[in-house]
Amino acid sequence: MSVGIMHFRNAVLRATLLMKRINETICGWLRKLWKYLSSAASGGYPYYRHSLPVRIMHWCNVVFLATLLMSGLNIFDAHPALYWGKQSYSGAPPVLELQGKEDDEGDISVGVTRILGHEFNTTGFLGASRDSEGELTERSFPSWLTIPNNRWLSMARHWHFFIAWLLVVNGITFVTYSIVSRHLHRDLVPTKQDWLSIGRAIIDHLRFRHPKGEAAKRYNVLQKCAYLAVIFFLLPLMILMGLGMSPALNALSPGWVDIFSGRQSIRTIHFVVAWALVLFVIIHVFMVIITGFWNNLRSMITGYYRVESEVDHG
């Protein structure tokens, strides 16, 4: 009896100690994080650059677009070929095809990417890649790039269509907010002066000379154009092409999908635009890194961007 109580007391004591240690560690981290995020370092002043709704919607987009891409690649894997036209079996070959090829023993040994009849060996990444056991298997995209990791069309579809609704809601909220708060007109629509200096902006970008100090408080003209293109062209096109694949919505106005040369072309455009968005994200993150990663990242978390004094960097 008393031995039991002793054990119990010891266990409680150990648990309390552990909790205390975990608590201290977490508090320490949070203190450091807070200190870092709220610090206005020497030689500059904090400037409130991104409003709270924009920050929240930005990070929602990060999660939504990543999950949509990854579940989309899993869906693609159910039929890893793309066509141009109304259908897949008109007799014309696919415009893109990913395939795993078997060797003489019946094992998958080569991953092949076929674009417009040209064949490329893409073993390990496209067509065939290694599964969790290290075995080369037929997969259009490697498992670490897909949600779920394994081939699971129904689950990937559930993810894709659920998150797609969230993306649409987020998108509508963002556009409404941007119009009402004048974020769109104030920060995103290029001014007359922007247009006049576009040539210079292009040259500056090519030379990796980016706005600093006071000028970094607002978006430059190329940035504005890129964001507007994504918000008002690529993302709406992406959603429209997604809806264009729906047999129900095809009946909305019979034949509307033929504006884009038919359902299989729409599927191809959906795929291409997905990678155009990935390209945007790569360039976006690249720009974030080279123009002051931590300062930029902090401004999208806390809202505050540290404007450095221009004398230091002139």
């Binding site: 079996y89 694949m245 359902r263």
Partner: protein, 258 residues
């Protein structure tokens, strides 16, 4: 501000970023395996069903094509020859003894021979078949309007779904016959037919002979092949896995409008 401090901050943030992405990736895997999360994701299907039904009028017609668009060879997916002795006997005799049984919540349970089905008002349509996998094929279908057949047997007031019981077992041991279900809005749609012809010829076995459902505003897996029996029900929770179809029981959406 010391260099050390800056470094530790950076490593802190890097660790945080890595942690978040790791949690996201492994979290996605774990979430798919739970019972509750797929239910949350299922809200997406409900929203899609409600909104698509809202924006589409009841009789909105699926796109129809010309004969030039017809696929030279209409792809057969899933079963191409049912592993079922009864079916094979019927097929060997050219489906002469085939009878479509229609029962459940009807005033007049009936059996239809192929000749009876052919006597019902028919419809010919060149439509696109969209598979859940992503491919599409175009074919010319002729078949009896399901609405005409349902009017013959007269639905009871509490009838809500049509269940299609099929001849093709989905397991190697001959169990798990394919089945599907649709609601009345789809059942009475003018393009919803029980097809017995493909591209002007009797429906081939790989495409579902002697009868297959055409449901042009949904994905291919809804269009049951080798249809043997229609059961009209109020709900389908007690049939097989209870989700209204073979693929639905495997986790696919009951409403396959996208």
């Amino acid at each position: 501000m010391g260099n050390d401090d800056k470094l530790s901050r950076r490593s802190l943030m890097t660790r945080l970023l890595a942690g978040v992405s790791l949690v996201m990736l492994s979290g996605c895997e774990k979430l798919s395996e739970t019972t509750w999360f797929p239910k949350v994701l299922g809200l997406g299907e409900k929203a899609t069903y409600k909104i698509q039904r809202l924006v589409l009028s009841r009789k909105a017609m699926a796109q129809e094509f010309t004969e030039n668009d017809v696929s030279p060879h209409f792809r057969s997916n899933g079963t191409s020859m049912p592993n079922n002795p009864t079916y094979r006997k019927l097929a060997a005799k050219g489906f002469k003894h085939y009878r479509l049984e229609v029962g459940g919540l009807v005033e007049q349970p009936m059996y239809f021979s192929l000749a009876d089905i052919r006597r019902l008002p028919s419809r010919t349509q060149i439509t696109r078949h969209d598979c859940v996998e992503g491919w599409s094929a175009i074919g010319m279908w002729k078949g009896a309007r399901l609405s005409a057949l349902l009017e013959e047997v007269k639905l009871k007031p509490n009838a809500r779904y049509i269940v299609f019981h099929c001849a093709d077992p989905m397991e190697e041991d001959g169990s798990s016959p394919y089945y599907e279900s649709i609601d009345l809005e789809d059942a009475f749609h003018p393009q919803t037919i029980l097809a017995y012809e493909l591209n002007g010829k009797p429906l081939p076995i790989p495409n579902g002979a002697p009868l297959r459902l055409r449901l042009e505003r949904q994905l291919g897996y809804k269009m049951a092949k080798y249809v043997m029996r229609l059961e009209i029900v109020e709900d389908f929770f007690r049939i097989a896995g209870g989700n209204g179809g073979y693929w639905e029981d495997k986790g696919y959406e009951w409403y396959a409008g996208i």
